[in-house]
Amino acid sequence: MLSNLDALMHGFSVALTAHHLLLMVAGVLLGILVGVLPGLGAPNGVTLLLPLTFSMDPVSAIILLTSLYWGALFGGSTTSILFNIPGEPSSVATTFDGYPMARQGRASEALTYAFVSAGIGALVGIVVITLLSSAVASFALRFGPPEYFAVYLLAFASFIAFGGGAPLKTIVSLALGFGFGMMGMDTVSGSMRLTFDIPELIRGISFLVVVIGLFGLGELLLTIEEGPEFKGASGRLDPRGMLRALASMPRYWVAVLRGSAVGVWMGITPGGPTAASFMSYGLARRTSRNGVRFGQGEPEGVIAPETADHAAGTSAMLPMLSLGIPGSATSAVMLGGLMIWGLNPGPMLFIEQRDFVWGMIASMYLGNVIGVILALATVPLFAAMLSVSFSIIGPVIVTVCLVGAYTVAGAPFDLWLAVAFGVAGYLMKKLDYPLAPLVLAMVIGDKAEDAFRQSMLMSSGSLGVLWSNPLVGTLSTIAALFLLWPLASALLGWRRTSKAMRLAPPEPGA
């Protein structure tokens, strides 16, 4: 523990330079912009910025990208509260009580509750990372291919068990991701797979293009369908309302604690921020004394999802850093970035790249504090920006997405792919197919397959290696149990918890 504190101090010395602070401010501001604009969210914001970081050093690059992530999480809440339009999927639950509060003229209060509780949730997540990450990493150093495969399997299985969607649709999403991820050269045998003799498919399909399509263009189509103009509460902030909210914040410590716990759990197991915020909202509504007032502008209904959202967003970095397994769609994109910058995600990072790891963790503390301040300070600015008609902003966002899709590999073919995945994303959202598993499966699917095939090489093709020692045996058994979970719970008719999480999607305009 004490050595972690030392390492963290070292991290602060890396992160606390004028250059990095500037990057944090720039990242947070860009993030808020991306979060506020519908159609641009954290996953594709990071994706769009990624090609521009190739020439940066990894520490600066990750600080910029993670700061953008925090900013996007904050910005998503602004539009949820003021306009009833979630700028991010993970802030959908914030609209339930945030928008009613804004309609009652308590927008300043709602925003303060949202940002402060989000900041606290984020801090809890980062403290967990600070305390646990190096322990997890040193534990993971003993991992061989079978252990790695078991952990990957556990990640996929927990999506099916706790992801919040219908298990069958999660399976479809995962399988689509695996399938797209397999296209191109097979890393073990060197043969071409699923390329159908189309030259453009030889390098495979980039998950970055898929993210831009699914989360960017798809989300835009959904926004445009619900109506093109933003109608909302005024973005003017009232300092007295903010102070009132700050003063009564301590009263909601139970909600904050509960939300943080849910968020950290959902972030580490790859449930992601969206599932976390819904789960936290559902839990709060059922267990809180104020439960009946939820949906009518109850502060606790803002605090619960916001805390969980950010706690999940930050703690999703823990498995990404220490195991090389992303806990959310956005951290999946960052994981891809790590590999492009020439870093090898996983436990060796903690030994070989101490500056990178602890600089990033330290920047998370700073970035979120900056985030809370900037998010509050820029509410009027971004609210005013949304009053620019969507008939102008919409097409501009489209061009940003397509330019981003092209920069991934400089391939005109990718533009078609982005559009195709945009249509797919629109339809999948309509039908409640979860999108995050698809991205996750694309990013780590081939790593999981490599780990599996290496394990099979070790054991001459026997599955017994997955139960060959207590560690890997435990992991494999838990993964198997998670896989059977939907079946078991369906048999027991015990679906109440997942029902609360499937509360989404909200009625448009409700």
Binding site: K169, G179, L194, E226, I392, P395, V396, L415, L457
Partner: protein, 160 residues
């Protein structure tokens, strides 16, 4: 108007088709499991089969709930028209980009989308189209030296 039942069935059919194409793609791969474990085609084959099975089950579930699902409207006429008006120009932009480059396609798309789909004045549309394209050019070509797709026009102007 599009009802949930039809969309569920249609999308499940698409997923099934993707599985089928995947299955076809594994035909010339070794899908077996030898003493050194699964071969290159092993997982693609299984994933294709899982896709086909899962989509069939989704379709079956939807069919079993057809009475309820056919009452749910997922896309209304008006909203759907908005989606098409917004989406088809995007296709146009991608098509034009293939031979005229991204910059020209982008400017034309912005102009068309803001003027006709958005119903804004010509001056607004022209301003945004030229402004955004110019900013993109400076940011990508000059600041970050990430070249974007160019067509004959840029070559003619000596920018390519």
């Amino acid at each position: 108007m599009l009802r949930r039942l039809h969309l569920e069935l249609g999308f499940a059919a698409c997923v099934f088709l993707v599985g089928l194409v995947g299955l076809r793609g594994t035909a010339d791969l070794d899908t077996g499991w030898t003493s050194d474990g699964p071969q290159a085609g092993f997982f693609p084959l299984r994933v294709s089969l899982i896709l086909m099975a899962a989509s069939a089950l989704v379709a079956l579930n939807a069919w079993r709930a057809r009475v309820a699902l056919s009452r749910v409207v997922v896309v209304e006429g008006e909203g759907g028209a908005r989606v098409l008006r917004f989406g088809l120009p995007i296709l146009g932009m991608v098509l034009v980009a293939q031979w005229l480059g991204l910059y020209v396609a982008m400017a034309l798309y912005l102009l068309g989308a803001i003027r006709f789909a958005g119903g804004r004045r010509w001056t607004v549309a022209l301003g945004v189209a030229i402004g955004v394209t110019a900013v993109t050019f400076v940011v990508f070509e000059r600041w970050f030296s990430v070249p974007l797709l160019k067509g004959p026009l840029e070559v003619m102007l000596g920018l390519g």
